[in-house]
């Protein structure tokens, strides 16, 4: 099937200070195909797409549309050429309605006045045609990520874009939403639209793409027909060696209870209903317990309550026998709680601090890093940071003094994981620790979690990803609408059953 190329990016080179993000890359997108782009964190995928979308200018190379060379200086040009992009981090105006976001930039007007009625009719029509359910009058800040994503897609469709770029669209979606998205992408391709699709999840690529291009460290590695390849081959192309997808671990040997949660209730910020309702569970030494569930069922609040980021409305939390229900965060940390936060930019890092300063964020006050008189011991901090960077393979431009802001999301995450694990905690609360990481990095994080468990620590994992939920933990607790509706043994359950619990279709009376 030799279809013509819709887009050709030929010999693209894009440099950033100190790094060649795209080194002579050629990418050809056929009409009507779904073309996956694969690569480790920082391989240059987003950069390449940003070049195509006009956010960056390549130093070398040309872009052709339908065989004709075009110049794309900014997103305006891209839009004009029918190129649309769903960005890795959504580009939606939070305090605008869904409708406003969709029509922005191509608003129908009469004498400068907005004609929203007209726009709404078209949006609703598109929404129906592609099965993209939205509420046009809801504010973005009030809707789920899934709906935000659908808004982004509608944005592209509303513009009649022919070429659609999806940069890691599935990283924040629930399994059901991912399935829906795959379906939508297939439909779009069937209509003749050409799709570029970035994902770290190989099974998605296998499931939906026609061809796949692999980048590594800014270089072009190769393009393969998906049907002729395998997950193993792809991952080998991507990282240069074989990757283990299944977490290797010995059976757990749970010891005494580290974390004991009794009848915990946490209020919700948004709604009147409590976000966490009367939840009780235990985590023991030497086991990984996973809280599973669809996003928005109270996991975030549960963790906030456990870690002290939000006050608890009722119930009791004890850790290692100490009542920590009302304990300040600092004391919890000292007592041995580590926390890999869900939102690394909001909580996990001080983006304008150097990497080394971020690495001691939980420990700077210890005598090792602060003298009696209150002065920081810079030498020790540097040494400590260098060790961690080495040990956890945290990649950055300038080592310890790199600004956290300039690091890639994956490496930022690694820094946090390193920091939290190196604290040698009694209890490790890891919330979506692998979000946005490439397979290699995921493997490493998973290994670390298991190593912690084997070292006799208690690990509480919160995850939205089914693979992770099935592979990593020793026990699964499913949360639905703020309650724990079931406890499952990952070895004795299936993804389907788990899905039923997560969707609220099935529930047990959990003991205790």
């Amino acid at each position: 099937m030799d279809r013509p190329y819709a887009i050709e990016m030929v010999h693209i080179t894009k440099r950033f200070p100190g790094i060649i993000a795209n080194d002579d890359i050629t990418l050809q997108l056929k009409k009507g195909e779904i073309h996956a782009l694969l690569g480790e964190n920082g391989a240059g995928k987003s950069t390449l797409m940003s070049v195509l979308f006009g956010l960056y200018q390549a130093e070398e190379g040309i872009i052709k549309k339908d065989g004709v060379e075009v110049s794309i200086k900014d997103p305006n040009d891209a839009n004009a050429l029918g190129i649309g992009m769903v960005h890795q981090h959504f580009k939606l105006v939070e305090c605008f309605t869904v409708l406003d976001n969709i029509i922005m930039g191509v608003e129908p007007t009469k004498m400068g006045f907005l004609q929203k009625k007209e726009a709404r009719a078209r949006v609703m029509e598109l929404s129906e045609r592609y099965g993209l359910k939205i509420d046009p009058d809801a504010l973005i800040e009030d809707i789920t990520v899934g709906m935000q994503q659908r808004t982004e897609i509608l944005k592209m469709l509303y513009r009649d874009n022919e070429i659609l770029i999806f940069d890691e669209p599935t990283a924040v979606l629930t399994p059901q939403e991912i399935d829906e998205l795959m379906e939508i992408m297939r439909n779009l391709a069937a209509e003749g639209k050409s799709i570029l699709f970035i994902s770290h999840k190989l099974n998605e690529i296998m499931a939906v793409s026609d061809r796949c291009t692999v980048l590594r460290k800014g270089k072009y590695i190769g393009t393969v027909e998906t049907k002729d390849t395998s997950v193993e081959q792809l991952s080998a192309m991507m990282v240069g060696h074989d990757v283990n997808f299944h977490v290797q671990k010995k059976p757990a040997q749970p010891g005494e209870v580290v974390l004991n949660v009794e009848h915990m209730t946490v209020a919700s910020k948004m709604h009147k209903k409590n976000a966490v309702r009367d939840v009780s569970f235990k985590v023991r030494k030497g086991e990984i317990v996973c809280i599973a569930g669809i996003d928005g069922n109270g996991q975030t609040e549960l963790v906030y309550g456990l870690t002290g980021l939000e006050p608890v409305a009722g119930g009791k939390v004890t850790m290692c026998g100490t009542d920590i229900t009302k304990m300040p965060i600092r004391k919890r940390n000292i007592l041995g709680m580590s926390h890999i936060p869900e939102d690394r930019h909001k909580h996990g890092l001080v983006l304008d601090y150097s990497l080394e300063d971020n690495l001691v964020l939980e420990r700077y006050f210890e005598p090792e890093f602060t003298s009696r008189a209150g002065f920081l011991r810079r030498d020790n901090i540097r040494k400590y940071a260098e060790n961690l960077i080495d040990e956890y393979d945290i990649r950055s431009g300038q080592g310890p003094i790199t600004m956290a802001r300039s690091m890639s999301g994956g490496n930022q995450q690694k820094a946090i994981v390193a920091r939290e694990i190196d604290k040698d905690p009694e209890l490790l609360v890891a919330v979506q620790p692998t979000r946005g990481l490439d397979v290699g990095a995921i493997e490493n994080v998973h290994k670390e979690l298991v190593a912690q468990r084997d070292a006799g620590k208690a690990v509480l994992l919160v995850s939205l990803e089914l693979d992770e939920v099935m592979d990593v933990p020793d026990r699964i607790l499913v949360m639905y609408e703020g309650e724990i509706v079931g406890e499952l043994d990952p070895k004795a359950t299936t993804q389907e059953e788990l899905g039923l619990y997560m969707a609220g279709a099935k529930r047990d009376e959990v003991k205790e």
Binding site: S50, F53, L55, Y56, D74, P75, N76, A78, N79, A80, M85, H87, Q88, H89, K91, L92, V93, E94, C95, F96, D100, N101, M104, G105, V106, E107, T109, G112, F113, L114, K155
Partner: protein
């Protein structure tokens, strides 16, 4: 009572205009701390127009030319903010502060130079406009109506429509909330921000001319505009960046300002014998208290103050 109304409306007009200016600028993502300076410069433009317009001009011509001059000078002056903060990504705080100082010093130097050039003995920074000022005023009974009040009302309505009913407003606000998003749908953030800042220059400049003509028929430029630019920023925040609320906030502030001067006309206030300083403090105290209770939910345009860099995520 009529006086209270008159001065409330007078002060409120100034505050509404300038606060709306700030509002446009901030909705586009640029904090215009330099409104005080913009006002002075706008006032200078208007005052010079009044000085150089032939005295026999028709009132309507006078009004238009003065408004135009004030708006134009305000616009030109605000472009100093725009070029620094938008194109050169300068810190908006420092540039705004500099523009306040520069406006005061610059206007004074210019007026003094003009005065001295006309008459070597006149080193004053004063411009007189008693004659020209008459073009703006209409007496309705004992109420001295100023066309500026009407202009303010019109601009208030225009601002509302512009922000909420037009393509321009939607795009402008997008740039202040999430410039990357705006840019990704083909809106030129730089252009919109320029537009926001220039509009704030126009409105700030108009506010300046309304301010200096409010009470007297001459103005000494070295006195500046007595903090009205800053007060307008307070009004803007108090009004939650929304034109209608800004108008209400401005009326409240204006009323207290007026009251501090005309309270002796009210017997019940007279007998309370509160020092006028207390009345002067009132708007500030009240707004602080109100802000303390209402700010939990307060939200400024998200991207304001942050230079736009199209490569940033």
């Amino acid at each position: 009572m009529v006086l209270l109304l008159q001065y409330t409306l007078t002060f409120a007009s100034v505050l509404i205009l300038v606060a709306l200016g700030g509002c446009f600028s901030e909705h586009s993502g640029v904090i215009n701390l330099g409104l005080e300076g913009v006002m002075i410069m706008g006032a200078l433009g208007g005052a010079l127009a009044m000085r150089y317009m032939p005295t026999n001009s028709t009132p309507i011509a006078m009004l238009l030319v003065v408004l135009l001059a004030a708006a134009l000078v305000g616009l030109i002056y605000s472009s100093l903010l725009a070029v620094a903060c938008i194109n050169f990504k300068a810190d908006q705080t420092i540039v705004g502060t500099a523009l306040n100082m520069l406006g005061l010093a610059g206007a004074t130097v210019i007026v003094k130079a003009i005065n001295t050039a006309a008459n070597p003995d006149d080193v004053s920074s004063t411009i007189q406009f008693a004659g020209a000022k008459r073009s703006f005023l209409v007496n309705i009974g004992s109420f001295e109506f100023s066309w500026f009040m009407l202009v303010t009302l019109i601009l208030l309505i225009v601002s509302y429509v512009l922000l909420y009913k037009t393509r321009f407003g939607l795009r402008l606000m997008a740039c202040g909330e999430h410039p990357q998003a705006a840019n990704s749908v083909g809106i030129s953030v730089y252009k919109m921000r320029w537009a926001g800042v220039l509009i704030s220059g126009v409105l700030g400049g108009l506010g300046g001319i309304v301010f200096i003509t409010a009470g007297v028929s001459e103005w000494r430029f070295e006195y500046g505009v007595a903090g009205f630019g800053f007060l307008s920023l307070a009004v803007m925040i108090f009004g939650q960046w929304k034109p209608t609320r800004i108008a209400l906030a401005a009326l409240l502030f204006g009323m207290f300002r007026a009251l501090s001067n005309v309270y002796t006309g009210f017997d019940f206030l007279r007998v309370l014998n509160i020092p006028s300083q207390v009345y002067n403090m009132m708007p500030y105290i009240i707004s602080l208290v109100v802000l303390a209770f209402t700010s939990k939910k307060s939200r400024a345009p998200k991207a304001e103050g942050i230079p736009y860099d199209k490569g940033q995520r």
